[in-house]
Symmetry: C2
Subunit: 299 residues, 2 copies
């Protein structure tokens, strides 16, 4: 099944204790597309500037990503510069240049308007809603968000939540959005706002899938070296949504497997800068890691 | 099989967002004994003062704990006063009165000296070693420790580690003791110091069991209300060691189940102040929660 993503395509400059990269390929829609592209056909909606290197376009195309929704406009591509220090759990943003992303108003190509699976990456909730408005009768809509929108546009965000099936957020955001420190209570609060499934990402501690009557707990793949956590959340969502969108069946069992595939794709992603590990991932690598996950929790 | 624990028996005054308790029963050996006592016969080695209430002694005896190693000496019982704030992850110590614990030099009753399973709770590593010296040919020795001993008595701690099979510590302590932020690398470092198994406790994120060739990841039981985290680590170790000491068999499968039983006993413990939940736990409650753990990670 087709899977649509709307989000950012960016050029990231990142420094971690393991090295650095200048103007590497990045952006939420990029990480998502490449991770999800291992499972299904992804349709991308994003914007880049005139400076966006042709080799990145060629790479995305080589991964099977449908780029008819990638606009190229006058100006410079969105740029982000960040630093991860010793503990690698949180990025320190050194500079954000929105550039062409500032005026981004996603317009879906008409061939995209019947896409059954939709992922709204972390962008202004008003834009997220405008995208949902353009799709006729989607089978499943998921979204991500962040602390900035939770505090600056709470009403717009609630309107989006009323229309999504799956909400992705990290545990700090879950607590912030629900207004309380207990994660289970926070999740129940979020479920009452619309989504039938809440996915709480916890970095090196794995992820939780919380629904009205069930909780599933997926580990993170234990790694001796995490080189660059940039894009972990988006590759997580990509693995999750990519797996899920292979079939119009939303059982608890498939949602659980989706969470594991999300954790797997995030684990590959953080092993190298930019998309350098994800771009080489093969189906066999994914399945081998899937078996490792089973071994990790079997008792 | 018999299981020996050496540690503290204390009177704790604890305040959390859910209430407070004055001079409640506490101490590492107490939490451990009551949790482990659900699985096996526990022999306790500790010291209390003249003020230690007879009802606490009667309670421990009612849970089947062998108290021949509980010394009562002139002076006051060890007292700890602590506060947990909103996030409940770390206690703020308001006051510590060592009292009779200060001069504690554990002397094992001769009937204890052939105990096959031994747990050295978090006390001075020199005392931990002195206890191991008094036991003839134990089948399995485990120990806990804390940041204070890691920084103040590193050499004595290393001598203990060379003689233990299983090391329990929380993730901050693992990083501190190994000197590095990656948890897997830290665990490998610790395995090289003596223990064949390292158990890393991560509070609400569960626990890891790390051996030379395997990693097992156990969740924490998701709770909507954590009333008092005091004793979580010791009841965790109690559940783990209690289950394990039912048989002289140390397979990977049994160690994994032990970790789950540890997580279960810790989850009961934090649901009430002092030992108020643990004291009512029945075998059926434990097995019911064991099944919930399976459901939590099944995919």
């Amino acid at each position: 099944m087709n899977l649509l993503v709307v989000g950012s395509v960016a050029l990231d400059s990142v420094k971690t204790p393991f090295g650095e990269i200048q103007d590497g390929l990045g952006g939420s829609a990029t990480y998502f597309s490449v991770a999800a592209g291992c499972f299904t056909q992804v349709r991308l909606v994003a914007v880049v500037g005139e400076d966006f290197p042709a080799r990145h376009v060629a790479f995305l195309r080589s991964r099977g990503v449908d780029l008819r929704g990638l606009e190229r406009v006058k100006g410079k591509t969105f740029r982000w510069k960040g630093l991860y220090e010793e503990d690698m759990n949180e990025a320190k943003t050194l500079r954000t240049e929105l550039n062409v992303f500032e005026a981004f108003r996603p317009e879906l190509p008409s061939v995209y308007k019947n896409t059954p699976f939709v992922f709204l990456a972390n962008i202004d909730p008003d834009l997220q809603r405008a995208v949902v408005d353009q799709i006729s009768d989607p089978y499943l809509v998921a979204c991500d968000t962040m602390n900035y929108w939770i505090s600056s546009k709470p009403k717009a965000l609630r309107k989006v939540l009323a229309r999504v099936d799956i909400l992705f957020l990290n545990e700090g955001e879950a607590r912030q959005l629900a207004g309380g420190s207990n994660l289970l209570k926070a999740a129940r609060h979020l479920l009452a706002l619309g989504p039938s499934t809440v996915v709480i990402k916890r970095g090196e501690y794995g992820a939780l899938l919380i629904r009205k009557d069930s909780i599933f707990w997926a580990p993170a793949y234990p790694l001796e070296t995490v080189r660059d956590p940039t894009g972990a959340g988006d590759s997580f969502a990509g693995g999750f949504m990519g797996y899920l969108s292979r079939r119009k069946t939303l059982t608890e069992a498939r949602l659980r497997k989706a969470l594991v595939y999300g954790s797997i794709m995030a684990s590959f992603n953080v092993q190298a800068f930019s998309l350098n590990r994800l771009r080489k991932v093969k189906r066999d690598d994914i399945e081998e890691r899937f078996r490792s996950f089973r071994g990790l929790v079997r008792f």
